[in-house]
C-alpha cells in the first residue's frame, strides 16, 4: 500500500499546470489573437486533443501495469476516439460540406448558397 510515498504527486501537478496553460492559450487564440479563423480552429483543436491526452495519461492511470489489463484501457479509448472522429467527420462530410446554412462555413456551393441567401436575408433583418 505504501507504494507511493510522495506527498505530492508531481505528474498530477504538471498535468494540472499544463491543462491550465493550454486552456488559457486556447482562450487567448480565440479572444485576442489576429490569426485567420481556420488556423485558430486548428490550433484550439490540437490543444483540446493534447489536454485530453493529459487527462488520460497523467490523471487516469491509463497505462498502469498493476491493472492486469495491460494495454486494454488504451485500446478501448483508442477505438472510442477513432469511432468519435469517424462519426463527427463523416456527419459533417455528408451533411454540411458543399452546403451553406445561412452565413456560416466557408465551403458553400454556389447554387445552395444562393438559395439560402434569399430566405436567410429575411431572417437576418428580422432581428
Amino acid at each position: 500500500m505504501a507504494k507511493t510515498d510522495k506527498k505530492v504527486p508531481m505528474n498530477h501537478v504538471i498535468g494540472f499546470a499544463l491543462s491550465i496553460i493550454m486552456t488559457l492559450l486556447a482562450a487567448w487564440a480565440v479572444i485576442q489573437s489576429d490569426l485567420p479563423v481556420t488556423w485558430v480552429i486548428v490550433f484550439i483543436m490540437v490543444l483540446a486533443l493534447l489536454q485530453a491526452g493529459v487527462q488520460l495519461f497523467m490523471f487516469m492511470h491509463m497505462t498502469e501495469k498493476e491493472s492486469g489489463g495491460g494495454a486494454v484501457p488504451w485500446n478501448m479509448m483508442f477505438h472510442g476516439f477513432a469511432l468519435a472522429a469517424i462519426l463527427v467527420a463523416g456527419s459533417l462530410f455528408t451533411m454540411s460540406f458543399g452546403f451553406d446554412h445561412g452565413d456560416h462555413g466557408d465551403h458553400g456551393g454556389e447554387h445552395e448558397e444562393h438559395m439560402e441567401m434569399d430566405d436567410s436575408e429575411g431572417d437576418h433583418s428580422g432581428h
Binding site: P9, V37, M45, A48, S67, G80, A84, S96, D123
Partner: protein, 201 residues
C-alpha cells in the same frame, strides 16, 4: 478467482474481480465517447441553423465559460489527489480531496444552470431552433453526467466513512475518479468545439 488475491500493489487491483470491474468501466467509458460523439456530430451538423433565435456569438460569454472550465479542471486535479491519498492508505486525505472535488463540481453545475437560465431568458431554449436543441442536448447531457457523478460520489463518501478502505471501496473510488476525469475530457471538447469555435465563427 478471489482466491488469487494479491498482497501488494494498489488495493483496487488486488482481486480479479476488482481488475475486471475496472476494465469493464473502461469499456463503458469508450461507449460514452461514442455517445458524446453522436451528440457532437449532431451539434456540428446543426451549427448555424439558429432560425429566429439569437446567434451563439451574441450569447456566449468567455468569462463564465472560462470559470466553468477552471472549476472542472481543478476538480479533476483534486480528484487525482484524492486517489493519490487513497493509494497511500490515507482515508482522511481521500475524503477531504473528494469533498473539495464535489464542491468544485457543484460550483460548475451552479454556473451551468445560471448560464442555461440566462440563455432561455434571451430567447434561446431547447425548442427555439435546431442549433439550440443541439447545444442544450450536448451541454445538458454533460451536465447530467456531472450531476449523477456528484450524487454517486456522495454515496461513496458515506460508504467509505462506514466501512473504511477495502478492496471494494477503493475499487469504487478508483472508478468514480475515472468517471470524473472523463467528464473533464468531454468538457474540454465542449469548451473548444462549442464555446470557442462558437465565438470565432
Amino acid at each position: 478467482m478471489a482466491a488469487e488475491e494479491l498482497k501488494t500493489g494498489p488495493l483496487e487491483y488486488r482481486t480479479q474481480e476488482g481488475r475486471m470491474t475496472i476494465l469493464g468501466f473502461w469499456i463503458f467509458l469508450a461507449a460514452e465517447v461514442v455517445l458524446f460523439a453522436t451528440l457532437f456530430a449532431t451539434y456540428a451538423v446543426l451549427f448555424g441553423r439558429t432560425g429566429d433565435a439569437p446567434a451563439p456569438m451574441e450569447l456566449f460569454e468567455p468569462g463564465i465559460v472560462l470559470v466553468m472550465t477552471f472549476l472542472l479542471l481543478t476538480s479533476s486535479f483534486t480528484c487525482g489527489l484524492a486517489i493519490h491519498q487513497m493509494r497511500r492508505g490515507n482515508v482522511k486525505g481521500l475524503m477531504t480531496w473528494m469533498i473539495v472535488t464535489l464542491a468544485l463540481g457543484f460550483g460548475f453545475l451552479g454556473f451551468e444552470i445560471y448560464e442555461f437560465v440566462h440563455y432561455v431568458h434571451e430567447g434561446a431554449s431547447l425548442t427555439s431552433s435546431a442549433y439550440w436543441s443541439g447545444f442544450f442536448v450536448l451541454a445538458g447531457t454533460h451536465g447530467l453526467h456531472v450531476t449523477l457523478g456528484t450524487g454517486w460520489a456522495i454515496l461513496l463518501l458515506i460508504q467509505i466513512a462506514r466501512r473504511g478502505l477495502t478492496n471494494v471501496t477503493s475499487r469504487k473510488f478508483f472508478i468514480i475518479s475515472l468517471y470524473w476525469h472523463f467528464l473533464d475530457v468531454i468538457w474540454i471538447f465542449i469548451f473548444t468545439c462549442v464555446y470557442l469555435i462558437g465565438m470565432v465563427i
